[in-house]
């Protein structure tokens, strides 16, 4: 009885979150948690807000009022690895989704619904009240949701290279029991890798104006969980 009731809830959640085309599979996760690679081939960020949430019919369905999330991703497409640093403010647990977890990258442009491709561990509530998570996942991926037409998990066949090829075609979000369609959602945008080459003459070096060099991690990167810096194959 309990399992039946739970199944009904999950299926309801599936309909709310992803639409009738997708249902939970309950399959075990295929992706693996891995250590952070030595280098990355791309980086993406998304500012997720409640007003970006779209229901399966493509209708704006505002999520948790006042909430927002910062979703930073670094990718090594050669290894099919994606590292995530996620902070979400202003939401209330529990998380809820028909997928394996409730925090995802979906494939769809801004203003459109689309299937999940990667399911990330849900952020964990911190003493401050914010929810945070970080780590790295290596494909192949599964989401725990299948396409009803194909019977195939929506993560199967997906590689992180697809994000590099067209980041605007992907969004990230997290779902809660209070906002099963999505508490916050944001479209991915590519950000540069490495430092900026904005000097060529050496005339500004060694002057009294020099600022102290900040150690790695000082600043927003640490608070957002970025932590480790990026090293592009090509010199930045």
């Amino acid at each position: 009885m309990i399992a039946s009731r739970t199944r009904a809830v999950l299926c309801s959640a599936a309909a709310l979150a992803f639409g009738a085309a997708f249902v939970p599979t309950g399959t075990a996760g295929a992706e693996t948690m891995v250590a952070e690679p030595d280098s990355f081939t791309s980086a993406f960020t998304a500012m997720a807000t409640p007003d970006m949430v779209i229901n399966p019919d493509g209708v704006v369905t505002p999520g948790a009022a006042g909430a927002y999330g910062t979703f930073n991703y670094r990718i090594n497409s050669d290894l099919d690895v994606i590292c995530y640093d996620i902070t979400v403010e202003g939401i209330t647990a529990p998380f809820m989704s028909p997928a394996k977890t409730a925090t995802h990258i979906h494939q769809a442009p801004a203003g459109k619904p689309g299937p999940p491709r990667i399911a990330f561990p849900n952020p964990i509530e911190q003493p401050s009240g914010a929810f945070q998570s970080s780590g790295c996942l290596k494909g192949p991926f599964t989401t725990g949701v299948k396409n009803v037409d194909t019977g195939i998990d929506t993560g199967v066949g997906f590689t992180v290279k697809q994000i590099e090829d067209d980041p605007a075609a992907f969004f990230t979000d997290t779902h809660t029991a209070a906002n099963p369609v999505g508490a916050v959602r944001g479209q991915l945008t590519a950000v540069p890798l490495g430092g900026v080459e904005t000097g060529a003459g050496g005339t500004a070096a060694g002057s009294p104006a020099e600022l102290p060099l900040l150690p790695i991690g000082a600043g927003l990167a640490v608070l957002l969980g970025a932590g480790v810096m990026l090293h592009r194959k090509a010199t930045a």
Partner: protein
């Protein structure tokens, strides 16, 4: 929607049987977050406006600022502060969706260091690095980031020098907290910001998300080169990053 739910529960979902139960699902994995690292940057309390005084925010501003705003990094002042009081009240900017329809920045003015320039547009190189102006006298904004009036940082890049002498952002390192920056916008309006931090980062360990990453506030970042100059490579070893928050 009710019909849809009933259909799912009675058909597709039922086909999954007991597998679609909570018991069969792997729980979310608890993982350590690098956010637990302790920033070593010193706070400049007087330069950090009290964001909780910003009226009209729709979020818990106090909590939000602890987690999502960059700490105010230490700097080594070389000139007396030339800007306004550092207690300037920030303009409320409750979170809303990033917008590509907000007016683009078209000019940059920093009176204290004599900058008054029109802006060009910049993107990513084929290798994924930041595109920089080919003209050392010009500054440009990264179009993949935020825009004034929306959340996310508006990032503006300019050279500190060329092979023949100082360039557009040569005096950027003179800036201090509290100094005002003005961005002229495509709609004819002006957005004003107050500097909250001047930082320097090694290019080898450049904190991409600290500079370009999403923010819950209307923020501007000015970026140029600094530090030691590697003459063999023809490149500075560090980047100077000036961060400013919207005040008007």
């Amino acid at each position: 929607m009710t019909a849809l739910l009933m259909t799912m529960i009675g058909t597709g979902c039922a086909a999954d049987g007991g597998r679609a139960t909570q018991e069969s699902r792997p729980p979310a994995t608890a993982i350590a977050s690098s956010a637990s690292q302790t920033p070593t940057t010193a706070a400049t309390g007087s330069a950090d406006p009290d964001l909780t005084t910003a009226a009209g925010r729709t979020i818990d501003a106090g909590r939000a600022t602890q987690e999502s705003r960059p700490p105010q990094s230490s700097t080594t002042p070389i000139t007396p502060p030339t800007g306004p009081s550092t207690t300037t009240t920030l303009v409320p900017t409750g979170p809303s969706a990033p917008s590509t329809t907000a007016p683009a920045p078209v000019s940059l003015d920093v009176d204290s260091i004599g900058i008054s320039e029109s802006l060009i547009t910049l993107g990513l190189t084929a290798e994924g690095a930041a595109e920089v102006p080919t003209d050392y006298a010009r500054a440009g904004w990264f179009t993949g980031g935020g825009r004034p009036g929306t959340i996310g940082p508006t990032v503006i890049l300019g050279h500190v020098d060329s092979k023949t002498g100082p360039a557009v952002f040569f005096r950027l390192r003179e800036l201090q907290t509290g100094v005002q920056i003005r961005l002229g916008l495509a709609d004819g309006t002006t957005a004003t910001y107050a500097i909250s931090a001047v930082d320097k980062y090694s290019k080898d360990d450049f904190p991409t998300f600290a500079v370009y990453g999403a923010t819950p506030r209307d923020t501007v970042r000015l970026v140029t080169c600094g530090g030691e100059f590697d003459r063999a490579a023809g490149s500075y070893l560090d980047n100077v990053v000036v961060t400013a928050e919207r005040i008007a």
